[in-house]
């Protein structure tokens, strides 16, 4: 219910209407879903994961284990939203999870009755047999029964984004310590990012009634926020949860942008995942209250004591009409004081027999709650005091077992926290994350005055370390409250006592784990799933290990903690993968002829990031084969034009360019004449073939190397490696010119005729013999012409600066048409090169040597080259290696498929009898048969033999004849002529 005069964050004069499980409610501007539900006396908000127990709101923040709901906004469905972090907006639709048919009457609550059989390890012990049942029966059943909210698998158009930020100091958390640290650092002139997971700065000050400088804490926080906003050096990132600490001062952070909006702009990213690079960081994450394990401590209405007063102070909401507090520390008494100030009668049950009342409320010292009742919400508690057991009616019980410093982030780089006996908590171990220091309650400093002083001290020290000069601020006055505590982890009694609400782990489960020898805290965690839910056990981990310590007879420090890993709070996968949707998935590289190819209805295939035309369909052609066969015949019979700009082109210059090429290529290039082109083979250091291509000598110190499309980047990297690491003495430099030149193959018996229609001047055999190159001009534009052929035809490659690429392609096509030619795509290009036995990376797959390819003669014996020695290793020169061969069908089955394997006729088809495989296959209209290239054991010596092709995917078997890989024009007369 709403309490008048309280709730500085909520404007009830601005009502906000929303629905929960279809029922309409009203809250105020500034309410979270949790506070609005409590204001409407809705306490049962969902069902637990395993036992489907009725559950209610426990906290006010991101550590909330129970109040997870599914939000529906337009087409977007967001499950597992923490009601404590979700602001309400007009007409918000929220639904409870994990309950059917309703949260009040959930059929799977029957699980709770079976709880004696469903303890830790139940799955492991029960679903062992029969083995085949696991996948078909057990797992589907368990999956259906388990889980919380369900994702909508359809893409709803919601945007997410990733971004980068840089600063001198990242301050994590904007409670009193964070505000003070940011102010101190900002005043020192350092670039500060202050990140806080809530929309308003202030942290616990927003939830408490205490004063700073004699003003309410939330007002002091607002004033500080205003000051920080005004500072150029401080960047405030609200709604931003720092989720992980990583190497080199990098932090991950998730910012929620539209959680408060009813109709966010379609272009507004729902969340931004930040990567923040910083020189230093101050963790001011504060402390989190922990509960106490006692029987049936999970009923709706059982909350953290700090949350009970937080809802009152910040939201003006009474969490119950009759409130009790069960605690072991002084701090929890503040809940009674605050509620008393609001006119509510409160009873504090303090487990310490020497506890003293701090104000006008009923105190039961030395009392312990031993049970609760109320099926869908707390109605009564049972407690013991002075040996007597009594009951008390109440609908809200605030629990406090003390406060845990939020050490999470300090452990992200394998740090372990240190046990502090006085605090009965783990505190950060200094230096756990390089460059990050911890201040305030996160460091175990609990009183507000001490927190502020600690923040100033820690921030000042860090500022000095970073070379800044610091003006020590005057500390504000505070009204420090007592912080005494006497550890109490568990109250044993009849019934289950919950540790991890989210994963339904009880003290019994932990004891069972210990009993079954899962005594290590890491083993216990995995056996019981304690702390493995989305809340990462923020409320329960310390409690659980205290129970484990008790069960194993060890102390808490000896028992240790489990590993805290990023993310600190749940991060949606969509945020982590932001930018990877649709066109953001990968860059698209388009050639200058792309638009013309698309206009010609050419389907595109991707080669790396490049888009290349597959074929150019003509009217009447029904399949790609129709087009491909025509294009091959066109090139063999007239002339074809193909955009080959995607091949890597590397400009190599310098006095030692020739010597360098001699080193990286198997052949000698230093003696290549200017105006000539040579085919080259490049080896990796391990002796296998890296790439092949042609290199042209444009001048005495100037070469241009071509690479395959696929290996362009790899070759460039190789060249840089060889130069920088192996031969830095060579005076040579490299520049990728792939993008500067648009290059087109002009191939076919009428290639020269076509050039004469386009190029200024004449192209003759004298000037451009086979493997010749040189400068030409096209309409006055400087161009390069190379007489090289990947088709086996009389062919050229013509290159112009890319700005003229589209225009040249257009001219080439128009000229080709007058000669009976036209464009050809990748399919035809592939057929043409297979007919000629030319290799691509289908053959150069990283496992083949020059000799395997039949190119051993290209490895010069007169000089050394990268990979030459390694290529001579016994394993690479032994008999029985698979060698490149040609293959053609000779049986009734005429189809050959790449990827198929080869076997000797009569052999069993088995990996041990494998003779090789097919790398490339096509139907050749020139030869009138299917053809293939492949690798076959001792292949070159087996020309004329037959082998059996087995293709398992399509179930095709064919008999093939082994032949020379050059099927067409074996003497090369067509391309040389």
């Amino acid at each position: 219910m709403r309490v008048a005069g309280f709730g500085h964050a909520v404007d009830t004069a601005q009502p906000v209407s929303f629905t929960f499980d279809g029922k309409r409610f009203s809250g105020g501007q500034g309410d979270t879903l949790a506070s609005a539900l409590l204001a409407n006396d809705v306490r049962l908000v969902g069902r637990s994961f395993k036992y489907h127990r009725a559950r209610g709101i426990v906290t006010t923040g991101s550590e909330e284990p129970n109040a997870l709901v599914t939000l529906t906004r337009g087409a977007a469905v967001t499950p597992n939203t923490r009601a404590t972090m979700q602001p309400i907006y007009q007409d918000m639709a929220a639904n409870s999870q994990n309950a059917w048919p309703s949260r009040a009457f959930d059929l799977l609550a029957a699980n709770d009755l079976l709880s004696p059989f469903l303890g830790a390890g139940f799955y492991y012990k029960t679903f062992m047999w029969p083995q085949s049942f696991w996948e078909k029966v057990y797992e589907p059943l368990i999956r259906r029964a388990a889980g919380l909210g369900a994702l909508d698998p359809t893409y709803d158009g919601t945007r997410f984004e990733k971004a980068y930020a840089h600063c001198d100091v990242l301050v994590i958390g904007a409670g009193p310590a964070g505000l003070m640290a940011a102010w101190t650092l900002g005043q020192a002139g350092l670039d500060v990012i202050l990140a806080d997971e809530h929309d308003t700065l202030g942290g616990r000050l927003l939830l408490e009634s205490e004063t700073i400088n004699h003003t309410p804490g939330h007002i002091w926080a607002a004033e500080m926020a205003e000051k920080l906003h005004a500072m150029d050096t401080v960047r405030i990132m609200a709604n931003t949860t720092v989720t992980g600490a990583y190497d080199q001062g990098d932090f991950g952070a998730l910012q929620r942008n539209d959680a408060h909006l009813a109709n966010p702009d379609a272009t507004l990213p729902t969340e931004t995942f930040w990567r923040i690079a910083t020189r230093g960081a101050v963790l001011c994450a504060g402390a989190g209250e922990r509960h106490i394990a006692f029987p049936d401590n999970d009923r709706p209405g059982v909350m953290l004591a700090g949350a009970v007063r937080g809802y009152l102070n910040k939201y003006g909401v009474a969490a119950g009409a009759r409130v009790a507090v069960f605690a072991n520390n002084d701090n929890a008494h503040q809940t009674a004081l605050d509620l008393a100030a609001a006119g509510q009668a409160v009873t504090v049950l303090d487990s310490r027999s020497d506890a003293v009342a701090q104000g006008d409320y009923n105190l039961l010292a030395g009392a312990q709650v031993v049970g609760t009742s109320g099926r869908q919400g707390l109605r009564k508690i049972t407690f013991t005091q002075n040996g007597q057991t009594r009951s008390m009616a109440c609908d809200c019980l605030g629990i406090s077992g003390g406060w845990n410093p939020m050490v999470h982030l300090t452990c992200h780089m394998n740090g372990r926290p240190t046990w502090d006996e006085n605090l009965a908590s783990f505190v950060p171990t200094p230096g756990s994350v390089p460059g990050m220091v911890v201040a305030g309650s996160a460091a175990g400093v609990m009183a507000t005055g001490a927190v502020l002083a600690d923040a100033v001290q820690v921030a000042s020290d860090l500022a000095r370390d970073l070379g800044a000069s610091v003006q020590t601020p005057i500390l504000p006055s505070t009204e420090d409250r007592p912080t005494g505590i006497k550890p109490l982890w568990e109250v044993r009694g009849h019934g289950r006592a919950w540790l991890d609400f989210q994963n339904d782990v009880t003290t019994k489960d932990v004891r069972l784990a210990a009993q079954e020898n899962f005594r290590s805290v890491e083993h216990m965690k995995r056996y019981t799933t304690q702390g493995m839910a989305p809340d990462q056990g923020k409320l329960s981990n310390v409690l659980a290990l205290s129970v484990l310590a008790d069960a194993t007879g060890r102390g808490i420090p000896e028992t240790g903690t489990t590993t805290f890993r990023p993310p600190y709070a749940p991060v949606s996968i969509a945020a982590l993968g932001a930018g990877g949707h649709g066109k953001g998935f990968a860059p698209e590289r388009f050639t200058t002829s792309h638009a013309a190819s698309v206009a010609a209805n050419a389907p595109m295939i991707e080669a790396g990031f490049w888009y290349r035309p597959s074929y150019f369909p003509q009217p009447g052609e029904r399949t790609w084969r129709d087009s491909c066969d025509r294009e091959v015949a066109m090139v063999r019979g007239a002339v074809g034009v193909c955009d080959v700009s995607t091949l890597g082109k590397i400009d190599i210059q310098g006095p030692d360019a020739g010597a360098f090429l001699d080193l990286v290529y198997t052949g000698r290039f230093s003696t290549l004449k200017v105006g000539k082109v040579k085919y080259g083979l490049m080896l990796r250091e391990d002796g296998f073939v890296l790439d092949d291509g042609t290199t042209a000598r444009l001048g005495p110190q100037h070469f241009v190397m071509t690479t395959t499309t696929a290996a362009a980047g790899q070759v460039m990297r190789h060249l840089e490696f060889v130069h920088q690491c192996l031969r830095p003495d060579l005076d040579v430099s490299f520049a990728s010119v792939t993008e500067h030149w648009a290059q087109f193959a002009v191939a076919g018996p009428k290639a020269r005729n076509l050039l004469h229609l386009v190029v200024d001047g004449s192209v003759t055999d004298d000037i451009f013999p086979f493997m010749g190159c040189g400068a030409v001009s096209i309409g006055g534009v400087n161009a390069r012409l190379f007489r090289i052929s990947f088709s086996g035809e009389h062919a050229y490659e013509l290159a112009v600066p890319a700005r003229f690429g589209a225009s040249l392609f257009d001219h080439l096509l128009r000229a080709a048409e007058t000669l009976g030619g036209g464009p050809y795509g990748m399919e035809a290009l592939n057929v043409l090169r297979i007919e000629k036995g030319f290799i691509t990376h289908a053959e150069i797959d990283g496992r083949v040597t020059a000799d395997d390819l039949g190119l051993a003669r290209m490895v010069s014996g007169a000089k050394d080259c990268i990979g030459k020695t390694a290529a001579g290793r016994p394993g690479l020169v032994e008999d029985g290696r698979q060698q490149l061969v040609g293959l053609r069908p000779v049986g009734t089955v005429k189809k050959i498929l790449a990827g198929a394997h080869l076997f000797n006729p009569g052999d069993d088809v088995h990996r041990t009898t494998d003779q090789g495989h097919i790398t490339s296959a096509c139907y050749s209209p020139s030869v009138g048969s299917s053809l293939a290239l492949g690798f076959l054991k001792n292949g070159r010596a087996r020309v004329g033999e037959t082998v059996v092709m087995v293709e398992h995917l399509n179930g095709i078997t064919a008999t093939l004849e082994v032949c020379d890989p050059v099927f067409f024009d074996p003497d090369g007369g067509r391309m040389r002529g």
Partner: protein, 184 residues
Amino acid sequence: MVKLTPTDPCADLLPVEHGHAVLRAVAPTDMWLVAPYNGKAKAAAKAAQKLVGQGWPDPGQGALSDGRGLLFFGHAHALLVGVAPSKDLMKSAAVTDQSDAWAVVDLSGDAARDVLARVTPLDVRPAAFGPGQCARCDIAHMQGAIVCLAPQQFRLMVFRSMAKTLVHDVTVAMESVAALGKTA
């Protein structure tokens, strides 16, 4: 004789404006990759000084004045912009024409740095990346270069073939920043 007509990779895609950021195409100009030969760095710097009024750039440095300048462009290279190399420069350095190799756009406006924060991991705070500074860096998922031309104006370059992706990715970032600005 045929007449070849030039095309610009970004011209049909730009300008684009969202919120306080504008993305415009940059007219093609001379761009040459310059790599001094061994022992010729000083001579190359001197030749560059004559051409563009500035010597060899330190790492991360490079400014454009009236569209001309010499930008740091990697461990062994600088990019000569706005002018063709002189004979003096060609004697002391390998020069390679890159005029058509890059898609070049200018991002400007008060929100420009916020937009950049969404496409590059580069530290683009004014103190870290101001006029006269440039970097080879990631732009979205492409390798590129960014030059700070003025406090709120940046030149972005990626390979020409990726012009559409550049415009797409920067536009998405501009839309996001503009939408975020409305919620602030």
